[in-house]
Amino acid sequence: MLPELHLPWMEISVLITLLGSIWLKFTPDRDRAYKRCIRICTLTCLVTICGWIDFVSLNTFAASEPFSLFYRLFHKNLFVVDDLSAPLLPLAALLYLLTVLSTLKTKGHSFSFSNTLISEAILLSTLSSKEPWIIILLLSVATIPPLLEFRSNKRSSRVYVLHMGLFVLLLVAGGLLSSFKDQSGTLSLIAGALLTTAALLRSGIIPLHCWMTDLFDKITFGTALLFVTPMTGAYAILRLVFPIAPDWALQGIAIVSLITAVYAAGMALVQQEARRFFCYLFLSHSSLVLVGLEMATPLGLTGGLCVWISVGISLAGFALTLRSVEARTGRISLKTYHGLYEHTPTLAGLFLVTGLASIGFPGTLGFIGTELLIEGVIEIYPLVGTAVVIATALNSIAILQVYFRVFTGTHHSASISLRARIPEHVAILILVALVIGGGLYPQPGVISRNHAAIQLIQQRDEAFQENKVSVDYSISEDKHHLTTSP
């Protein structure tokens, strides 16, 4: 029996976002919808933070929710918070809040606040679920809101539909196969392979990454950002694949992720448009997170989880900065220099800080995480581990290159003031404060991720132990049956 939180925080937060979404559906005025959406997201964020504090105060590895409506209906715990998901939930809620906060009112016609809240509800439910079938269902449903935006923008969604359709198909097939028990282990191996492919597809591993660039190209930056930044693909791997995949399979995934990280970093260097650049930059970083997660060693896994948090925060800030610039100048071509520094000096500074934080620059949140990750990789593959360092180096070059392209190189004459609005400024500053604060005092965060890593590895070991016992038992049963049969 799991210990219980004091209140059903996760259910409350999901309920707030769902009810808020309905409320916004009936709010035709854009300005009012924007303000209401900010209030709802703030409330959701506060509830998730309370949930996290509550969980930490219990001093346990996992906790269920009391007075659960879902439990009364289905006699199953839908929401279970553990060391892995506890900080991810407020992070996700914060990401939504800051994205909404930094949305210019002029963009309200293309960025749907109501759909954003539905996405948030799905994401929060996903991150607080441990039940494989629930996760599969929610991951599948989460692919719908971006599709609706494709349709409303009257853009071809074939690339997205093809990839996400395959993703859902693989998830469901993998889920079905994993529910069968077979003695030889062949079915569970196939199920693992299907689930792994699905999760990697959702994470954008090459050559299955083209949907991501297409997504950033054809729908609003905010929606695309909110769909990829929480890294639900990595979450799916940890919940669905990590407990059942053998070591060699995990190491195989790590190699594929490493190749993706280097490839995406190289691609980020040659992009000619800012959104695509961000997409590849994110892809490279998220692949590095996967490398850490697949190490299956406490050090590597801790590094991966730390980088997950740091990348989530820093790249969100980076993207919001880019989005703020884009809101002023339209799509940002990287073929030319724009020289916007003079008009938006604070955005330039924030762009640089968040960008450098994402590569684990000293004094930022990602520094220790990156160190742990590299050390974890080198522990297992001494030479291959250098690829992580190369990917990071390429990413850092790409970030400064884009900084120079967007903010320097020429004198920009503006017809109106391009200075950042206070909400935009506040949104990005919050992320910068987290990035630098976490960088200067990393111990609590690292310890928390280390606990999560140890817990995940223990669960994995227990699962393998159970599997081994059941196989041994069935073999001994067969032998017994053979010896006693006439």
């Binding site: 690339v159 190209d217 040659v270 100048t329 160190e371 522990e379 001494p382 250098t386 190189g409 280390n450």
Partner: protein
């Protein structure tokens, strides 16, 4: 006990000063409330003077107490006991770090005082001093680092501030391009440093110099790793040092770095930053001793770079580039000294050269004015005798050598042709393949965003 408290207090003062300066300037800029020139100048002056006096006080205390090695423990920044991982924050005062630290404060103080007048009413005054604070912090942390990770921490700060200051006049294209070039070289070199640091951590279970370099304070340490490991890690560190100190094949960035304002050129490429590679080699010199092959590589690299620097310096047409290559020559000679095991000579050479070169670079803007005054006074141009080499070398070789020098050894051209162009070409090809693939699936042009003029949904008027 009392002396320990005094050392700890002074150590914290030395490191905390630049950190507070950076926090003050950085925060005020991020919240869009930049400080005034006078306040920035006073804050900078206070921090540098405080740091300098604290370092001198440490030196005096060490001489009085007869100590050669004083560690200042800041505790573990991060520790994972179960995984035996710790990021130890430790600063050390010894015969290498103290002179370097004092030198950093003196030269940064001089340059700071010069810059506060030189950049008066310059739009980027605040930005310059943020980068300056970043650099000062990086230099002090690198100088006093007691662990290889801490050294890496400072090393990175120096690299970033360096690249940003080269691109200081950022409304022009050339400084920006050169800034990016320098950043790229630094990052590649830093990657080698990071791998070396983690390898050392992995092999010895610690990043602490005291454990890496065995017993005995600098320069008497004895490294405790095998010769093969020493060679491998030493080569990585040499690669990192070559990147930072612009040794061959990375020398192409040094003249480009002169695009920055004169004060930063002086403090970076004349005095401190350019010596940081040599400082790293001095700090890990016990590792160099373990492998004769590694020492030989260090000597050869230093020799090649010194010859290259002295040849190229002769044909430079602007004073800052000439000084940059002259710097490179001296730094390369310092590297040769380190390779030969002459550590004290190398340290004295660094201090002397840094002071002289800073003075020369700060003097450079007004030098031509004095030249013109001199020529006006004597009523003729100043003449130069051809050198001995020019007189004895056949013309055919002289022309070839001159071309080689003028093209700066073709290093940039080789780098572009054999590294950058193939790399960019490969990824552009992959990008075009991806584009074709997504266009095929979606049945429409997926990249129209790249051809859209950047005002389609702009807030600005067309």
């Amino acid at each position: 006990m009392n002396s320990e408290i005094a050392f700890h207090f002074l150590g914290v003062c030395i490191v905390a000063g630049p950190a507070l300066l950076l926090a003050l300037l950085g925060t005020s800029s991020l919240i869009n409330k930049p400080l005034g020139e006078r306040l920035i100048a006073h804050a900078t002056q206070t921090v540098v003077v405080m740091g300098l006096f604290a370092s001198i006080a440490v030196l005096v205390l060490m001489l009085t107490l007869g100590k050669r090695y004083v560690p200042v423990e800041m505790g573990n920044w991060v520790v994972l006991p179960e995984q035996h991982f710790h990021f130890h924050l430790k600063f050390i005062f010894d015969r290498l770090s103290i002179p370097f630290c004092i030198l950093s404060f003196i030269l940064c103080g001089t340059v700071g005082a010069f810059a506060s007048r030189y950049l008066h009413r310059e739009p980027g005054y605040n930005r310059f001093f943020i980068c300056y604070a970043l650099f000062l912090l990086g230099m002090i942390v690198s100088s006093l680092a007691g662990t290889i990770e801490t050294l890496f921490f400072g090393w990175e700060l120096v690299g970033l501030s360096s690249a940003l200051l080269v691109a200081f006049f950022h409304e022009r294209l050339n400084p920006v391009r050169n800034g990016l070039r320098i950043w790229s070289i630094y990052r590649i070199a830093d990657a080698a440093f990071l791998v070396a640091a983690i390898m050392l951590h992995h092999l010895t279970g610690a990043g602490d110099f005291a454990e890496l370099m065995g017993t005995g304070s600098w320069p008497d340490g004895q490294a405790s790793i095998s010769e093969q490991h020493a060679l491998f890690i030493g080569l990585l560190l040499l690669f990192a040092a070559a990147g930072k100190s612009a040794l061959v094949p990375f020398s192409g960035w040094l003249p480009r770095a002169m695009e920055g304002p004169t004060p930063s050129s002086a403090v970076f490429y004349g005095s401190l930053s350019v010596h940081l590679g040599a400082y790293l080699l001095l700090r890990v010199s016990p590792i160099l001793e373990l492998s004769p092959l590694l020492s030989l590589t260090v000597i050869l690299l230093g020799l090649v770079s010194a010859i290259y620097g002295t040849l190229v310096a002769r044909v430079q047409t602007d004073i800052k580039s000439a000084l940059a290559f002259a710097s490179l020559t001296q730094v390369s000679i310092i590297v040769v000294e380190i390779g030969c095991g002459l550590r004290y000579i190398a340290l004295i050479h660094i201090i002397g050269h840094a002071c002289l070169r800073t003075l020369q670079l700060l003097r450079a803007p007004s030098l031509f004015h004095d030249y013109h005054s001199l020529e006006n006074a004597i009523g003729a141009h100043l003449t130069q005798k051809p050198s001995l080499w020019v007189r004895i070398m056949p013309e055919r070789y002289r022309v070839s050598l001159y071309r080689f020098e003028l093209e700066r050894g073709y290093l940039d051209m080789l780098c572009n042709r054999f590294i950058i162009t193939p790399f960019v070409g490969l990824f552009r090809y992959c990008d075009s393949l991806e584009s074709r693939w997504t266009n095929l699936i979606s049945g429409e042009d997926q990249r129209e965003s790249e051809s859209v003029s950047p005002v389609s949904d702009s807030l600005e008027e067309n």
